[in-house]
């Protein structure tokens, strides 16, 4: 049943996947194992996304499926004292003046699936909030998201604020958004630009290896 469930999630068969979760729970499966299986399936989705077999629609459906499975399984999950090991922390947000969140949320979803601990600051995030959160949580990576050209200067101001606070050298900074590219990363003083969610995972993985 576990393999069928993984295949159903990876093949976007939502109803079948949920039916199998219920069946596994009824049969007394370990809830933690169901979550682990979900993660395996989502990694498969990520691989297909990277292979350009899947696109945003499939990532969105996978994200919805993950939430549905979690809602079914979590009540039965015995709290475990030890937190799971993560690859590292990522502080992420859409910069001040910009309220776009779809791209950012997909990046968060993929980072989460790949075992990063993500601290989501939301949208329209002032530079000072990035500084405070970086100081407080000491992440390895900061992700700046922006969809509008106003984000060029605001990202730069955010990077400058991290530098002024003496935090620039303790983090790697990646930027993303439809209109971003490497020349924008250079302009704002970021370490890298990622063209999609999988690129963000690759960058963060490279920096935390």
């Amino acid at each position: 049943m576990r393999d069928e469930f993984i295949a159903a999630v990876a093949d976007m068969e939502e109803e079948e996947a949920i039916r199998l979760v219920r069946a596994m729970l009824d049969a007394g499966a370990d809830p933690q194992d169901i979550l682990d299986a979900t993660k395996e399936a989502l990694l498969l989705v990520g691989t297909r996304y990277e292979a350009k077999e899947y696109f945003l629609p499939e990532l969105i459906i996978a994200g919805d499926l993950m939430k549905e499975v979690a809602a079914l399984v979590k009540p039965k999950l015995v709290e475990r004292a030890a937190g799971r090991a993560t690859r590292g922390k990522v502080v992420i947000g859409t910069v001040e003046g910009d309220i776009h969140d779809i791209g950012k949320d997909i990046v968060i979803f993929m980072l989460d699936v790949n075992n990063f601990e993500v601290i989501d600051l939301g949208v329209d995030v002032p530079a000072a909030v990035f500084v405070d959160k970086v100081r407080e949580t000491q992440p390895a990576v900061v992700g700046l998201s922006g969809f509008l050209t106003l984000a060029f200067d605001q990202m730069r101001a955010t990077v400058d604020a991290l530098a002024a606070a003496g935090l620039r050298n303790s983090v790697k900074i990646m930027i993303g958004g439809a209109i971003m590219d490497q020349s924008v990363a250079d302009y704002v003083g970021a370490d890298a630009y990622g063209s999609d969610a999988q690129a963000a995972v690759r960058l963060a993985t490279g920096w935390t290896a």
Binding site: M12, E14, K52, E53, Y54, F55, L56, P57, E58, I60, I61, D64, G97, D98, I99, H100, I102, D124, L148, T149, L150, F152, D153, A178, I179, D181, S183, V184, Y187, D196
Partner: protein, 413 residues
């Protein structure tokens, strides 16, 4: 060359643009493009002022046009009227003074303004759905419309259902829409005044209408991006039926431009590009309806300016299937040479000086980019110089370099 009169300049500019669209070689490469916030920044006023003080917005756009002298003029049309938005309690936007700083560009707030189970309501009676369900969700001030009887039942005894018009909610809604109507008249009056003023100075207005592809009509304003993308897998047949309705709306939106002196309808393309969907999904859900609508507009003598808002390299082989010399494709960040290889000789191309270069580069950088674009895309006509994305931020000297260089180097001899 002797100085042109404003009337001569007006005609010369229209001909230049029409030649480029028709893939003829014009006297030189035309240069113009849409802006949002830029002229206000240039003139020293913030976006909040531009959206509230129409005279200030007009003065700023005139100052922009006088200084930079692009071939066509947009005017203050994208400085939306804050007054009417406030009156109606527009929930789907944030703007300066309403959730955004004074100098931010207004932004759209996505939502599921049509729920999945409401597809049939939209498909069978779109006007009723928009009036009674959608409008109250978008505008706090339109609550009252949710109370009234559907108009499709108005024959025979339907009129007897007028009672809800007397409800407190509907009275308030009617007062607010009348007030907003007056405010919209004032705003359109300002746009009309601007157009007359700038045309008298020899600057043709760059737009005769606005439009959105059928998929984006549904995705932007009804279902929301995430929902419509998932709908391609979850409810494909409902989506197809709704896209047929949206195609009709697309044509209605654009066809008002027919008969204009320069019938350019700007079509803002949002979810067609890059990763939004697979090629198979684009071919099934996006392009056929969009193409049908574009061809219907072309049939009416209208020139669609398709403003692809991101990289569309992956779609080139599909979107080349349109009539020759009838449209403009704006490039955004698409690789110009790859675009030209496929689309050159079919549609007029426009763009794509990077906005980051206009902001962070030097005039020499901008001239080098402009030269490369003219050499590549403009070598046989059929090209218009513009920035990659709508202008919000740029150094004035960089923008001036793009325009002046095009006027010198872009002359066809």
């Amino acid at each position: 060359m002797t100085e042109q009169t404003p009337a001569e300049q007006f005609e010369a500019r229209i001909k230049r643009v029409q030649d480029a669209i028709a893939l003829r070689v014009p006297d030189r490469v035309p240069v113009f493009g849409p802006y949002q916030k830029y002229p206000y920044t240039f003139a020293g006023i913030d976006m909040r002022t531009a959206m509230n003080d129409y005279a200030a917005a007009r003065a700023a756009c005139h100052a922009f046009q006088d200084h930079f002298q692009p071939d066509l003029d947009f005017g203050p049309v994208l400085a939306y009227p804050a007054a009417a938005m406030e009156t109606l309690g527009y929930r789907a936007f944030r703007w300066p003074g309403h959730g955004l700083p004074d100098d931010a560009m207004y932004q759209y707030v996505e939502g599921e303004y049509m729920k999945a189970e409401e597809y049939d309501d939209f498909i069978t009676d779109p006007s009723d759905f928009m009036l009674r369900t959608w409008a109250p969700r978008q505008f706090a001030g339109m609550d009252g419309f949710g109370k009234i009887t559907p108009w499709r039942r108005f024959m025979w005894s339907g009129w007897m259902g007028l009672g809800p018009f007397a409800s407190p909610e509907m009275r308030r809604t009617l007062e607010l829409v009348v007030k907003a109507g007056e405010q919209m008249d004032e705003w359109f009056g300002s746009l009309g005044q601007y157009a007359a003023e700038t045309e008298a100075r020899g600057n043709p207005i760059a737009y005769a209408g606005w439009d959105w592809p059928p998929f984006d009509i549904l995705g932007d304003t009804l279902r929301g991006t995430a929902n419509i993308l998932a709908d391609m897998r979850r409810r494909p047949s409902k989506l197809h039926d709704a896209l047929k309705v949206a195609t009709r709306i697309f044509v209605e939106y654009g066809e008002g431009a027919a008969g204009s002196r320069l019938p350019l309808v700007w079509v803002w393309v949002h979810k067609a590009t890059r990763d939004f969907m697979s090629d198979a999904q684009f071919k099934e859900f996006y392009w056929p309806y969009f193409r049908e609508g574009l061809l219907a507009l072309v049939e009416k003598g209208i020139t669609p300016v398709v403003y692809w808002e991101a990289d569309f390299e992956s779609r080139l082989e599909h979107i080349v299937d349109v009539p020759k010399g009838k449209m403009i494709y704006h490039l955004s960040s698409t690789d110009p040479e790859k675009a030209y290889d496929v689309l050159g000789g079919t549609v007029c191309l426009m763009g794509n000086v990077p906005n980051i270069q206009l902001l962070g580069g030097t005039p020499d950088d901008v001239r080098a980019t402009s030269k490369r674009l003219i050499d590549t895309l403009g070598r046989n006509g059929g090209y218009i110089m513009d920035s990659a994305f709508m202008l919000d931020e740029a150094k004035p000297e960089n923008l001036k370099a793009m325009i002046d260089f095009t006027k010198e180097y872009g002359v066809y001899r």
